[in-house]
């Protein structure tokens, strides 16, 4: 075990996987000399050279597409999008090509591509640099969608992503890069896709959250405890595949569900979780699932405004109390 930041955890797995498999290589803006704007590829140029650590022009659709093409002939590219907001420029190559290629080609090709990058608030970057895109990607079949909330999950899930034979969108959070945690040193350490993580056990209400909202859900759980409410906190970790079973099991026990995320509330992934849990655990539910998410408002630059758009710990507490009819 080592204590690492989320950013270093990512970087180390990239390095380990590149050492292990010659087919793994990196492309993206400013990933070489600069080591990535957030440092996730720091020093990799030095170790692996400019053939395998490739700075790209600012041509998102094409360098992602080059990843699709290289993957389709057996390479294992890991492509960095500097901000996930730029996914919208590469949407054709991700949704029309990467996600569909294998199926349209009758299952005759594998596309072991990883597109990774960061999203979210935390640096005052305003509307075009602060979005959460994970929910959108869940609707189009063919991708896997990964959302690590801790350094260990970042490491373990990234290894799984790189070794997966399907295209994976691996979404980091900019405000987590500096957070620290224990990460196993084993270069085979991995976290499987499709296993939600029960981060805190409880019996009165189930709270599902990720990224910054895993931490905030835990804070909320502490506050709730003081009021005699025991909250179970679950991190879904991957949205495709999505392990609802673990969540359903929890709700069977607690009878209450709160979902929380930084993504906009309408059609945020909490909506899917709420719907699935309602389908699968209807008779256990003592209250309708409560969805907490960002207002349907573009992310503003001003900090006070930004805080008014994204959920706060108090909102989670309130939602938990509301499903317990304790308002």
């Amino acid at each position: 075990m080592s204590i690492k930041t989320y950013a270093v955890a990512i970087r180390d797995v990239l390095a380990q996987e590149m050492r292990r498999d010659q087919n793994v290589f990196l492309m993206g803006e400013d990933i070489a000399e600069q080591g990535g704007i957030f440092g996730c590829t720091r020093d990799l140029l030095q170790e692996f050279g400019d053939k395998r650590v490739r700075n790209t022009p600012i041509s998102e659709n094409t360098f992602v597409g080059a990843g699709v093409g290289a993957a389709s002939v057996g390479m294992r590219p890991v492509v960095e999008l500097m901000y996930m907001d730029f996914l919208y420029l590469a949407m054709d190559q991700i949704l029309n090509q990467a996600a569909k290629m294998r199926y349209m080609f009758g299952g005759k090709v594998k596309v072991p591509l990883v597109v990774r990058g960061q999203q979210g608030i935390g640096r005052g970057n305003a509307g075009q640099h602060s979005q959460s895109v994970e929910s959108l990607l869940m609707h189009i079949p063919g991708l896997k969608v990964v959302c690590p909330s801790t350094p260990a999950d970042a490491a373990g899930l990234l290894r799984t992503a790189i070794r997966d034979d399907n295209p994976v969108v691996f979404i980091e959070h900019k405000a987590l890069y500096a957070t620290k945690g224990e990460v196993p040193d084993d270069p085979e350490f991995s976290v499987p896709f499709g296993k939600s993580n029960v981060v805190r056990e409880g019996k009165d209400v189930t709270i599902v959250g990720n990224y910054l909202y895993l931490g905030k859900a835990l804070e909320a759980a502490d506050l709730l405890e003081k009021e005699g409410i025991s909250a179970e906190v679950i991190d879904p970790r991957t949205l495709v595949p999505l392990d609802t079973d673990t969540i359903v099991e929890s709700v069977r026990k607690t009878g209450r569900l709160v979902t929380v995320h930084e993504a906009h509330r309408t059609m945020g992934f909490g909506t899917e979780i709420a719907a699935q849990v309602t389908e699968k655990a209807f008779k256990y539910l003592d209250a309708p699932p409560a969805r907490v998410g960002a207002k349907m408002c573009t992310l503003p630059f001003n900090l006070g405004l930004e805080n008014a758009v994204v959920p706060q710990v108090a909102d989670i507490v309130e939602a938990a109390k509301s499903v317990l009819y304790r308002m």
Partner: protein
């Protein structure tokens, strides 16, 4: 006909002739099947443009790659030399290249280096860049040929792919089949230059305008581009001027052009011209070419029959092919 810069074997030339003829007959049969309601979907025929696919692929090996377009039957047949899997795919059959999941616009054959047709105009160009990148990273001297047409040359991906291939000196040979139209829109309405090949200069790569209905005009330029690419010196752009005889798709009302224009281009039939060349240069006799024609007709008929006789894919296995694991991984 242009003079060839180099001497080609009789076999090479007859292969090109054969493939052109196969494509022509394949497309005519597909057209008939569409009219007879045996085919569904959008079917984009490449009649008139056969010389480009046939000539280019004859200089490639199975481990050279192509990417193709919505008008991809010719590319696919030429690269794979497999009429049956192509026809079966057009009919959505289990025996098709894509087990009926792709249809006319998604013919692919990874084993033979066809990284796939693409229903997104310009969508294949970045994928081709990626194929070439893999070739370069593996230190092979293999090349990738993205086929596309004039309309695609106005997509952002054209620019980005040309630039990236040039900056990374990738072995890409961009082959633009300029057939004068994107559906109903003539290039004068969509494209700011008359010769798309001039755009090569914006990426510091060679650009060639060739007669796309003339096998040797195509081969001459392609050989140059090929040597450059195989030598690791980087990409080239070839613009082959041609014309599609049929409508954009099988149901096109063709409001945008006159019969005279079509007729004038039919005069420049690439197959007829090449046949005359083969005869007048005594490379083949009339009977030999007739025999090839007959064989091509038999092969296409056999492929069509194969497609007709082939089973439909089983709806119970509809999800097969979605993820490597099989179905949706939930």
């Amino acid at each position: 006909m242009t003079k060839p810069d180099k001497k080609y074997s009789r076999e090479t030339l007859l292969n090109i002739y054969t493939v052109m003829k196969q494509i022509r007959l394949f497309e005519e049969t597909a057209f008939r099947f569409f009219q007879e309601n045996k085919l569904r979907g959008s079917v984009h025929l490449c009649i008139g443009q056969e010389a480009i696919s046939a000539s280019v692929t004859e200089l490639l090996d199975d481990d050279d790659y192509i990417t193709s377009t919505h008008r991809g039957h010719g590319h696919g047949i030429a690269k794979s030399r497999d009429l049956k899997s192509a026809f079966a795919e057009l009919m959505g059959k289990q025996t098709g290249f894509c087990h009926g999941r792709g249809g006319s616009m998604h013919i692919c054959d990874l084993d033979k280096g066809n990284l796939g047709a693409n229903a997104i105009v310009g969508g294949g160009l970045p994928i081709a860049v990626g194929g070439a990148l893999a070739q370069k990273m593996r230190n092979t001297d293999r090349v990738t040929v993205p086929f596309f047409s004039d309309g695609a040359s106005n997509q952002g991906t054209f620019h980005e792919s040309m630039n990236l291939a040039s900056v990374w000196k990738l072995p890409v040979i961009f082959v633009c089949e300029n057939n004068g139209f994107g559906i109903s829109v003539p290039i004068s309405q969509s494209t700011s230059v008359k010769d798309i090949a001039v755009r090569a200069s914006a990426y510091d790569m060679p650009g060639y305008v060739v007669d796309g209905n003339d096998v040797f005009s195509i081969l001459n330029a392609f050989e140059k581009a090929l040597s450059r690419a195989r030598a690791g010196e980087g990409p080239s752009l070839i613009e082959a001027k041609t014309y599609r005889w049929k409508g954009h798709w099988t149901g096109d009302p063709e409001v945008y052009r006159t019969r005279e224009e079509v007729a004038a281009w039919m005069e420049k039939c690439p197959i007829k011209r090449f046949r005359e060349y083969l005869l007048s240069n005594k490379i083949a006799k009339e009977e030999e070419l007739d025999a090839i024609d007959e064989q091509a007709a038999a092969d296409v008929a056999e492929a069509a029959q194969f497609a007709l006789d082939s089973p439909e894919p089983d709806p119970a296995h509809v999800m097969d092919g979605m993820y490597v694991e099989g179905a949706y991984p939930i």
